[in-house]
């Protein structure tokens, strides 16, 4: 494995978005990984609709919360095609589900994986390279005040409350870290990203790891 890797360098990660006053992080993380695998496979990076997942994934609760694994299960089971963000724009509130013709452009998935990889963060690096960016659920209570640096403390595992995606890692310095894309806008953290120490399941980053396959 390379000592340092970031899918952003390959141009397959969309820009950091802002979920606003909407508890839809679960949808942002799932749409983020689908955008990236779509870019890896089809060589086109396009922003897909988060609002479609928020409105239509009936097993979740829209802007009042949801689960990335539940959303992936729904996308996989229904074979729903995610349309472009420009066609179904983010509204920061739950709305009525809009349906699109089967003939329209859309990205559907063929499968997904979801695993507990706690104590196996080395394996996670391999999966990140093989599968593309990974959706994870973490404890982000202390992220309210985060400005930068590598999070090593003030974060617990076993209290997951926020979904994000891992786009890369860096083990070249004294503290190896995951590169994590958030959905709180580019003004938060390091241009919208946060760094989490690798190796001790900080923030529960390895407790619930999922990926989508096209």
């Amino acid at each position: 494995l390379p000592a340092k890797f970031d899918w952003r360098d390959k141009g397959i990660v969309t820009k950091v978005r802002n979920q606003g006053v909407c508890g839809g992080c679960w949808a942002f993380s799932v749409v983020g990984i689908i955008e990236s695998v779509h870019a890896i496979k089809r060589n086109v990076l396009e922003e897909l609709s988060v609002q479609q997942v928020i409105d239509c994934s009936y097993i979740n609760s829209g802007c009042r919360g949801g689960s990335p694994v539940g959303a992936l299960g729904w996308i996989n089971q229904t074979r729903v095609k995610l349309v472009r963000d420009s066609e179904y724009h983010f509204q920061a509130e739950t709305g009525l589900c809009r349906y699109f013709s089967r003939a329209d452009f859309g990205v559907s998935i063929k499968g997904y994986a979801a695993y507990d990889l706690s104590d196996q963060e080395d394996k996670m690096k391999k999966l990140l390279l093989e599968w593309g960016p990974l959706a994870v659920v973490v404890d982000a209570a202390s992220w309210q005040d985060y400005l930068g640096g590598i999070i090593q403390y003030h974060c617990s595992s076993g209290e997951p409350n926020h979904a994000v995606l891992i786009t890369g890692y860096d083990t070249t310095g004294s503290i190896p870290f995951w590169i994590v894309k958030n959905s709180w806008g580019p003004a938060w953290g390091i241009d919208g990203y946060v760094r989490i120490k690798i190796g001790s399941n900080v923030c529960g980053i390895a407790d619930e790891v999922s990926a989508a396959f096209l």
């Binding site: 993380s29 990335p68 979801a114 695993y115 507990d116 309210q144 640096g149 590598i150 407790d207 999922s210």
Partner: protein, 82 residues
């Protein structure tokens, strides 16, 4: 008009109280930093006007799902790769 003005000043007072609480919390969080530029550092940002419980109620709404432990038997190569 009076009611609107009264509500907005109440809101300002609440946000001011949340900011003071943020300052104390940030001081506590930064106390563990060793100043070597690797440990995370904390400060005022776009969420500092929220009390932690408000922040949690708006932004920390992801639910977890029970997922199986990844075992070496799961052969990554067998799964359709992206």
């Amino acid at each position: 008009s009076f009611s609107r003005h009264f509500r907005s000043s109440q809101q300002e007072e609440k946000e001011e109280a949340a900011k003071w609480e943020s300052i104390l919390r940030i001081r506590r969080l930064n106390s563990l930093s060793n100043g070597d530029n690797t440990t995370a550092f904390y400060g005022m940002n776009q969420f500092s006007h929220l009390f932690p419980e408000e922040f949690r109620a708006i932004y920390l709404q992801s639910k977890s799902s029970k997922v199986p432990k990844f075992t070496p038997e799961v052969r990554v190569e067998e799964i359709d790769k992206p």
